[in-house]
Structure formats: structure tokens, C-alpha cells
């Protein structure tokens, strides 16, 4: 089920919130779990079994890991759980990639598996791994299977994150408070996320689709596409994260932040501190640091960076363009660590241009169907292959999507937030804001509903990961 759907907004959400708040405290996690299973089954009825199996092994091995933590067996139980979890991921997400490449190398024709990717598997597998590893590192294992299942399957963050680590919400699973204030904060965050997704991300997605279908490409059109996709993926994913964090808040949870205005970064290093924060910190804590991080020799340090970023790329998709996308960032991060960071810190404008340039180009690589298309698209940005500079189509769509692009560019910076705070932070305006904010949120919700009812473009990019 999509957050940005009529069925979620006007059927599922009223029902689940009513049941949740009516239920007595000790039943609330069970209600959340039940609702989450319905939410997941709505799109993937068969794959609820897969998720249940992942959770069950996590529960059993988590308990065993805790029990035998002081002996060598604890480590073995933890590793078995990690291997089982990764096996699910490899089978459903990467098996066909490996088979295709083996076939290409060996000239064989081993038939590919006829399986669909279970939605959200990359996210919940990482959560269960974080749980068992955290238990091995000293966190108390969850005794209550319902609470553990509620943590893994919790619908706000189940299918596109943020990747919530068990240690972050273990206490909240045991007990949490609810208040109008918290709920209102959650609602505000949810509605803004919904509007980011429906009113902005979908329009940029539409522009990308138009570009892809266009016959008359031009350099301008390629750059328009690069900008549109960069804004699409940002508003799509950060909008989803906002909705997830907001829903969590309504149910009394505090999920970690996932985005912090990444496009204002002045280096790639800074960009990755602001983009998909929960994934970056997961790889840091569960891969980079266990490999030795930066507390090793220069050679091993660089190897660690390459490994982590190759895996980061591979996590996003089972295709070579994702691996190259990760490695591109690895190279840029290494260059910055070795030589560039000092100069970037001294610059004012050019570091932003440098960062945005590579981010835009990287997302063109990211969104390509295959390496051939990646080559053509990146070449198109620079006029390779005799692509004309401007085309009538590019100019038309620039005019047609110009306002949305402008809103997107401004909205990707802290400017709207700062302006709002400045205006309504004044005592005299605070009373106005008390009325204006609920009205503004209602209008955003209704306009977003109108876009949904009109049935326009509405996929979620991160559902494929």
C-alpha cells in the first residue's frame, strides 16, 4: 500500500489510528503489528510469509545470541542469523543478477528465477541484521515476539525506511507517551511529506517520463532531465521519510532523521552526511567500522571506503550501474579525503557547483536502465553524438515545468523553513500562525487528495530497493 493513495489516507489510516488509540496500552503494539501485516499484505500477500520467516529467525537467534553472548556460541548464533537474513536478500534481489552475469561469462543459459522482489526487503533485512548484531554487542534481546515483529514490520517505516535500528526504539517499544502535541507534530510532518511526494516529486517524475519518451532530445533536455530526476528522487524519498517519521510520531515513536537538505552541501562528503542518513550510518556501524574504518593503514582505509560504497551502490539495485554509482562516490570521497576537502572548505560558490554537478551526473547514472543507456544519457549531457543544444520539446517542458522546478529548487533548501520561522516566530505573528498552520495543512492535504483523485503519475522510487 502506498502512503500516497486514497486507500491508505481515507480507509487504512482512519481505521488503524482509531483501533490504535482505543486499544489499551499493552495491546497497542499488537494492533500496530496487525495493521502492519495488513498494510504489507495489501501489496504483497504472498511475501508476508517471507517477512514472517525473517522475523522468526531474528527472534530465535537474537534470544540465543543473548543467552550465549559470553561464550563463543553467541557470535556463531549472531553470524548464522546474519547469513540467513542475507540469504533471503541475495535470493530475492541478487540471484538473477549473478545468474545473468555467470551466463554472460560462461556462455551458458542457466534459466533465471521467476521471482518478484518483495517490497521493502532491503530495509527490513537491514533492520533485523542491526537487531541481532546489537544484541551480540550487548543490547538486551526482545523477549516479546510481538514487540520484535512490531519493530520490524511497523508499517510507517517498513517499506522505504528510515532504517530504524533496534537500539533507537527498544525503549519506545516497551512504553511510550502520546499527546496532542506529539500527534500534531506528526501530522504536520506527514502532510508536508505527502505534499512533497504528490505535488512535487510526482511532477518531476512526470518530466522524467516525458524525457524518456521524447524523440527530440537535446543537451538542454538532458540537463533538464538530470535536474528533474535529482529533484524527483529527493522529494520522493525525503517525502516518504517525512511521512514515515510523522506517522511514527503519531504512534509515539521517534524515528531517526533521514535527510538534511543534501543539495546545499559543499562537498560529496557533506552530501552523504545529509542524504539517506540512516543508510549511511548503518553501513558505517555494521560494515565500515567492523572492517577497521579509518583506524588502519592508508591502503586498507581506502579499500574499506571502496567496499562500503560498492555495497551501498549494490544495495540500491542489482545492476552494474548501481555498483558504478557507488564506486563513483567512493572515488570522489577518496579524492576529497586525500586532497580536495581543504580547498572545498575554503571555497564559497564553486564547492556547491562541484557537488551539484557530480550529484546530478551520478543520478543520471543511477536512473539508467543499463550501462548503454547510462553512457548515452551522460554523453547527452555533454552533446556527445551530435545531440543539438536545444529542442522545441525541451523549451516547452522547461516552460511547462518551470514553476515546479523553481519550487523544487527552493524547497530543497532550508529557505522556506527559515522564512516561516522568521515570520511566524515573532510574537505578533504567532497568533496568526496558530490559525494559518492548520488551514495550510488542510489545504495541502486536500490538494494532494485532488492530485490523487485525478489519478496522475504516482510511483514510489524507493519501492524497488
Amino acid at each position: 500500500m502506498l502512503f500516497s493513495s486514497i486507500s491508505f489516507l481515507y480507509y487504512f489510516l482512519p481505521l488503524i489510528t482509531a483501533l490504535y488509540f482505543i486499544a489499551p496500552g499493552k495491546w497497542k503494539n499488537a494492533v500496530l503489528l496487525l495493521g502492519s501485516l495488513v498494510f504489507y499484505a495489501w501489496g504483497e500477500p504472498k511475501y508476508v510469509v517471507v517477512m514472517a520467516a525473517v522475523i522468526a529467525q531474528g527472534y530465535v537467534f537474537g534470544r540465543l545470541t543473548e543467552k550465549y553472548r559470553e561464550t563463543g556460541a553467541g557470535k556463531i548464533f549472531c553470524m548464522v542469523s546474519v547469513v540467513i537474513s542475507l540469504s533471503f536478500l541475495v535470493y530475492f534481489k541478487y540471484a538473477n543478477f549473478f545468474l545473468e552475469n555467470l551466463n554472460a561469462l560462461a556462455g551458458d543459459a542457466v534459466p533465471l528465477l521467476r521471482i518478484a522482489l518483495p517490497v521493502g526487503i532491503s530495509f527490513y533485512i537491514f533492520q533485523i541484521i542491526s537487531y541481532t548484531v546489537d544484541v551480540y554487542r550487548g543490547e538486551a534481546a526482545q523477549k516479546n515476539a510481538v514487540d520484535l515483529a512490531a519493530y520490524i514490520a511497523m508499517f510507517p517505516q517498513l517499506i522505504a525506511g528510515p532504517i530504524v535500528r533496534y537500539s533507537d526504539i527498544a525503549g519506545q517499544l516497551r512504553g511510550r507517551g502520546h499527546s496532542w502535541e506529539e500527534a500534531a507534530e506528526g501530522i504536520r510532518r506527514f502532510v508536508i511529506g505527502l505534499a512533497k511526494k504528490i505535488l512535487l516529486a510526482n511532477q518531476f517524475g512526470e518530466l522524467c517520463a516525458v524525457f524518456r519518451a521524447a524523440e527530440q532530445k537535446s543537451v538542454l533536455f538532458y540537463w533538464l532531465y538530470a535536474l528533474a530526476f535529482s529533484l524527483h528522487i529527493y522529494f520522493d524519498f525525503s517525502g516518504y521519510s517525512d511521512m514515515a517519521i510523522g506517522l511514527g510520531r503519531i504512534f509515539g515513536f521517534r524515528f531517526p532523521e533521514n535527510f538534511n537538505y543534501p543539495y546545499i552541501s559543499s562537498s560529496i562528503t557533506e552530501f552523504w552526511r545529509r542524504w539517506h542518513i540512516s543508510l549511511g550510518s548503518w553501513f558505517r556501524d555494521y560494515v565500515y567500522i567492523p572492517l577497521g574504518g579509518n583506524r588502519v593503514g592508508r591502503g586498507r582505509h581506502l579499500r574499506n571506503i571502496l567496499v562500503v560504497w560498492m555495497l551501498t551502490g549494490f544495495w540500491h539495485g542489482a545492476a552494474w550501474n548501481f555498483i558504478l554509482w557507488g564506486l563513483l562516490f567512493a572515488v570522489l570521497l577518496i579524492l576529497e579525503k586525500l586532497w580536495l576537502l581543504g580547498a572545498l572548505e575554503k571555497g564559497r560558490i564553486w564547492p556547491h557547483i562541484y557537488t551539484l554537478f557530480f550529484v546530478l551526473v551520478s543520478f543520471v547514472l543511477f536512473n539508467a536502465e543499463d550501462l548503454g543507456q547510462a553512457y548515452a544519457d551522460i554523453g547527452g549531457l555533454f552533446g556527445v553524438g551530435g545531440v543539438p543544444a536545444v529542442s522545441a520539446e525541451a523549451l516547452y517542458y522547461l516552460r511547462s515545468f518551470g514553476a515546479a522546478l523553481l519550487f523544487g529548487v527552493i524547497g530543497a533548501t532550508p529557505v522556506p523553513r527559515n522564512v516561516t520561522r522568521r515570520i511566524f516566530g515573532e510574537t505578533a505573528c504567532r497568533e496568526v500562525w496558530n490559525i494559518a498552520e492548520p488551514v495550510m495543512l488542510a489545504v495541502l492535504l486536500l490538494i494532494s487528495t485532488a492530485y490523487l483523485v485525478d489519478g496522475s503519475f504516482n510511483p514510489f522510487l524507493y519501492f524497488r530497493f
Partner: protein
Amino acid sequence: MAGKRGFAVCMVFILLLYGGFLLCLFKPKPGYSDSERRRLAVMPEFSADSVWSGRFMSDFEEYAVDAFPFRDRFRTAKALAAGGVFLKKDNNGVYVADGFISALEYPLDTASLKRAAERFRYICGKYLNDGNRVFLSVIPDKNCFLAAGSGRLFMDYAALESRMAGEADFAEYIGISDLLERDDYYRTDTHWRQERIADVANRLAQSMGAELSQDYRIHTLERDFYGVYYGQAALPLAPDTLQYMTGEDMDNCSVYDWQNGKEIPVYDMERAQGRDPYEMFLSGPVSLITIDNPEAPAGKRLVLFRDSFGSSLAPLLISGYSRITLVDIRYIHPDSLGRFIDFEGCDVLFLYSTLVLNHSDTMK
């Protein structure tokens, strides 16, 4: 967040969500959308099989959108936001310029033109001989007169005509673009207005050696005409007025609908009161129709291969021909035509709008 404001935010959200929920459950659902001219999705059947296969859920998503309360008003709100806030030049491919609604028709699909010409060539090869004269005419769609001036994408219509004439080198081309202008089309519909195309009918007839009566009476339909683009645009625009022309030959001719096996009127007043009043012209989408005119010179026969634009034009040609056969090869395969049509000595006119030529995969 200030206490009062937080409470107000919660109350507004609860009101909208639960209000929407209750309306979704209890407000009666329309089965048909007049504005979009389509049946709306109905509540899917709930069964273990439909749930396990995921069919129930996907069908429910469609139903939830189609059955949403005040759906048309929400669509209007979206169209207004798209144009007024985001300054989109078109909304779902539909735009409004100078009070006319049109759909973007772009780019020119040369393969489609070639395919259409091949279909025409196939018909000629199968049924015609040296005794037949073959003509081709292309009807420009409304974009030809609206798009360029309003900054929308547009096809090169001159190139389209010239390419089509070149592809169909077995036919004599009759150009009619110079006789048409924006106001010859309905503001809310795809089609041209019959009361404004008498000159087009004359040009076609004269080019084919026929002479038409110019004695027409103009009638106005006593209901508003909301064309097909009206629903797609979802904007609060004024409706069109639909007019039709009658004459002595039209009064005395007989029209036979081969598809449904019955006599039909030139102007179907039942359909004029239906969901698409434009279907009043020769009863709308019918694959094969013959019009016999006892007043016309005997043996003057025309086979008109046409799309829906031809429905409103054909009545104006009646006075020039003893028999006009209208064929819509979107609904009947050309191989079947020999059973119904005697092509011997007939004139043949392929009269198609650019909208169909540019999407000729609809032709059989």
C-alpha cells in the same frame, strides 16, 4: 508547537480524514462519469482467491479513486492548481487556449502515416480498378490552429499533409486546410462544427466532380454540448452549442446501418439527448452505413472511408450522390467489405483527421 495550535491541527486532520472515510463508506457511488464518459470502477468482489492473488487490492485501489466523494470537484481543484499554481502548460496533455480546449498532439509519427497509407493502398488493390477514381483528404485537428500561437508543442501540419499525399500516391489529394480555422471546431470537443464546413464539403464534392445543393436549414440543439475535452480538462468552462443542417435531399434520403441491421435517421435525436450529443450525426461510431438519395443523379456513387469527422460531413454530401457508403475501418476489417459494397464505378474518398492518421494502429 503551541498547545492550541497543536490541538487545532489534530482536529482539522481528524475531521478531514474521518469525514472522508465516512463519505467514502456511505455516500452513494455514481456508476458512470459523465464528464469523463466512462464507467467507474465498482467495489471488487472479496474472496480468498482475489485477496491471495492481489487482484482484490489492485481493483480496490481503482475503486477507491473512482468512487471518491466529490470526485469531479477534486479533479477541477487539481486542474486549477496545475494551471494556477504550477503554471503547467497542459494538464494530463490537455490545454486551454483562447477558450478552446485541446489535447496535445505531438510528435508527428511518420511510421503511423505510412501504415495508414498502406492500409488505404491495400483496400485499393483489393477492390478497385481503373474505373475508380481515388481521392485523399486530411482534416487538421484543432491543434493546427491553437498550439503554435499559444506556445504548445505542435506538429508540422504542412509536412504531414505533404508526406501523406506522397505516401498515398495512388490517390488524388484534396487539400482543405486553407478552408478551416479555429472557430470551425467546437470549443470543448475534438470535432468540427457541421454548420461551418459547408465550404469543405463543396471543395471535396467539386474536386470529385459532384455538385451539392446549397439550400440548408440550420437547427440548434436545445441542450448544452459538453464535448469530450470538457471532462478531460476538468475546468469550469462554458459549454458549446451544437447545430446541425438539414436540406431537402437529407429529408428524403434513406440511411441503413449495416452493423446493427436497421434504418437510421441522418440525425439521431435520441443520441442527441444522450451522453455524447455529437453521436447524433449518423448515429456515431458505426462501421458501415449506406445513404441512398433518390433525388440525386443515378449512378453517382461515393465510398467514403472516414473517422468520426466524416459523420458530420457526410450529410452535406448527400445531395451530390445517389449512394454514399461510409466505412470506418477502425471497426470493420477491409477484407469484409466485398460482401457489402459494390465498388464498380464508385468514387472513393479517404477522409481522415490527423488524430487518426497519427495513431493509425486503430485501423484494421
